[in-house]
């Protein structure tokens, strides 16, 4: 009998296979082409694209976390509220750290001369680092609790635990802030959400700038792409999403994988909080009201990830985020009412999910 197992890749050039792989990228290009035609004088300009790039930061990070969770066939409803809580923790802790240090500095007048003043860059940077650490810690803690509720308390579906967490985080954000925004953040924090990197100068003297936040999300997306495609844990995340039973039987610690995933979603919500706070230079509890998690879920689904778990790519999610952002941006440019924008996005989500259903039906046997 001849041996048939080969490592050679079988390449099949079919329209279906191409669409399957590049469908979303093509959809993005199509969308951009349409918007360019409809808004020729503004859509493809530097200002507009930079504007979009700066705006997508926090939603891109929330979507990345949501993508990990959806890969395991779960859902995280809390990422928006956790981001809101992170925002408050960031603003609150940097304010309190500052006040505490300033009080200490001015009280100990004798030795103050040898200490850096409260407004000095060393102190402000230290405060920023500590505040960011606290913020990310809160995000991680929320994520760990989400995972714990699902894997240890055995709540029926992550929907329940993360719905609970949504309310807890939102409540906590309002309790800590007293319901009003805490404005003014150290520059070292603001730079992530609002800073720009000057790349080169155009002939007209203007600088080509890219937002720091955009660079940050590119870095995060790259790191998570490597994580998901090149590491054991990443492989196990796909396996758990494809078949938790198969993963378990193969000796994968399914609960641990799930805990990691929810923890990472929480961490990314914390990072999103840092970006958001930096952008608006304040911590506002309004961000904790929620709604952003729904945009994140929408971006992930538009990006081609399957709600059934186990299917989807980091790149797809990124494109999903861009599609969502361009639709909002484009329809704004075209003066389409916000309400019609919502209708349009709804239709696109349903279409994307339907494409996934078709793909599953044709790609799978049985």
């Amino acid at each position: 009998m001849s041996t048939m197992a080969r490592t050679v890749k079988t390449r099949r050039f079919s329209v279906g296979a191409v669409l399957d792989r590049f469908g979303i990228a093509l959809a993005l290009l199509l969308l951009m082409a349409i918007l360019t035609i409809l808004s020729p004088e503004y859509f493809l300009t530097r200002e507009n694209l930079t504007n979009v790039a700066a705006r997508i930061a926090f939603i891109a990070l929330l979507s990345l976390g949501e993508f990990l969770v959806i890969l395991t066939a779960g859902i995280d409803l809390s990422v928006g509220a956790v981001m809101g809580l992170s925002l408050i923790v960031l603003a609150w802790s940097s304010h309190h750290l500052y006040e505490w240090y300033a009080g200490w500095y001015y009280a100990g007048a004798g030795m103050a001369a040898s200490l850096p003043p409260p407004e000095g860059p060393v102190v402000l940077t230290t405060i920023s680092v500590l505040a960011i650490a606290a913020t990310l810690g809160v995000g991680v803690l929320c994520g760990l609790l989400n995972g714990w509720g699902f894997t240890k308390l055995r709540l029926p579906h992550p929907f329940i635990m993360t719905l609970g967490m949504l309310n807890i985080a939102r409540g906590a954000a309002f309790l800590i802030s007293g319901g009003s925004p805490i404005t003014g953040l150290p520059k070292a924090i603001r730079v992530f959400g609002a800073g720009n990197i000057r790349l080169f100068q155009f002939a007209d003297g203007e600088w080509f700038k890219i937002p720091v936040s955009f660079v940050v999300i590119l870095v995060f997306y790259f790191v998570f792409w490597v994580f998901l495609t090149q590491t054991k844990t990443g492989r196990h995340i796909y396996a758990v999403g494809g078949s938790p039973q198969a993963a378990l039987y193969a000796g994968v610690d399914v609960d641990r994988v799930l805990n990691k995933v929810y923890m990472l979603a929480g961490l990314l919500a914390g990072v999103a909080g840092v970006m958001y706070a930096g952008r608006i230079n304040s911590g506002t509890p309004k961000a904790a009201r929620g709604g952003d998690e729904l945009d994140a879920i929408a971006a992930v689904i538009i990006g081609g990830a399957s709600f059934f778990g186990g299917r989807g790519t980091v790149m797809g999610t990124f494109i999903g985020v861009l599609i969502l952002a361009f639709i909002r941006n484009g329809l704004n440019l075209l003066n389409v009412s916000v309400f019609w924008q919502e209708v349009a996005i709804g239709v696109i989500i349903i279409t994307a999910a339907f494409v996934d259903v078709i793909r599953l039906r044709t790609g799978q046997r049985e």
């Binding site: 009998m1 041996t3 048939m4 197992a5 080969r6 490592t7 050679v8 890749k9 079988t10 490597v226 495609t229 090149q230 590491t231 054991k232 990443g234 492989r235 196990h236 796909y238 396996a239 999403g241 494809g242 078949s243 039973q245 198969a246 993963a247 378990l248 039987y249 193969a250 000796g251 994968v252 610690d253 186990g310 299917r311 790609g363 799978q364 046997r365």
Partner: protein, 258 residues
């Protein structure tokens, strides 16, 4: 000599269903044990207790005379027990190589061992070599398992159980979806494993397969062990009678062997 595996008085219930009642099992070195019984007799449950998928309500498991407690298949695989599950247990969204190496991924170290990345190429080559050795006909190890036929999937599952130098390989209905020639291959593989000092537990409803490869045959009926027979000293009729309950019990031979 200590048997390789000894399960002692294993009981397991699922709510009101008592799937196993005080079942003993012994498996010796270089032995093929046929495990038979009607649907729902408890065969799969007994094997899942052995691999740590289920924890028994009562009973003990010894490996080479050492008491073991498996909390998950991770533990049993590390102890050298591989199993082909009746419900196959493959992740359809992963490709063939990914499934074969699931939970046992090969990695390459970078930055002096600080980070480990998957060795995609190594796994693809090893998987292809393994399937070639088993003469499994699959075009490419890059194919997603969900695109394979039932028989091919079974072959992948069998292949996985053979790839990791196990001491015990358990096969729960490994031939259910296979064509006649493929069945012969699996039976060959089982004999081959035995020659390489691997012990095998084979669960099958196909009596001729059981009789072809087994050294000993154990019969379960309604969660109880009702037969333990040396193959050369029994007949298909006797085994079938034990399965259906037409004959009471036949456990004498075990006590003599053990």
């Amino acid at each position: 000599m200590e048997p390789l595996v000894r399960m002692k008085k294993i009981s397991k219930s699922f709510g009101p269903v008592q799937a196993l009642r005080q079942v003993d099992l012994t498996l010796h070195q270089r032995e093929v044990l046929g495990l038979v019984g009607d649907n729902g007799a408890g065969k799969s449950t007994l094997m899942k207790v052995l691999t740590g998928v289920y924890r028994p309500d009562e009973g003990e498991i010894y490996l080479n005379g050492q008491r073991v407690r498996f909390n998950s298949p991770y533990d049993s695989r590390n102890a050298g027990i591989e199993m082909v599950y009746q419900d196959l247990a493959l992740a359809g969204n992963l490709h063939v190589a990914g499934n074969i190496f699931l939970g046992r991924e090969l990695t390459k170290k970078y930055l002096g061992g600080l980070i480990k990345f998957l060795d995609h190429k190594g796994m693809a080559q090893e998987a292809a070599r393994l399937l070639e050795r088993l003469r499994v006909e699959i075009q490419s190890v890059d194919l997603k398992v969900e695109t394979l036929s039932g028989g091919q999937r079974q072959a992948v599952a069998v292949g996985r159980s053979m790839g990791f130098n196990a001491r015990v390989v358990i096969m729960d209905e490994p031939t259910a979806a296979l064509a006649v020639t493929e069945v012969a291959k699996v039976l060959d593989l089982i004999r081959n494993l035995k020659e390489h000092d691997v012990s095998v537990i084979l669960i099958s409803h196909r009596m001729q397969d059981i009789f072809e490869v087994s050294d000993r045959i154990m019969v379960l009926r309604q969660g109880r062990k009702v037969g333990d027979l040396v193959r050369s000293q029994t007949t298909m009729d006797e085994v079938v009678a034990l399965i259906t309950g037409a004959q009471g019990e036949a456990l004498q031979t075990v006590t003599e062997v053990a």
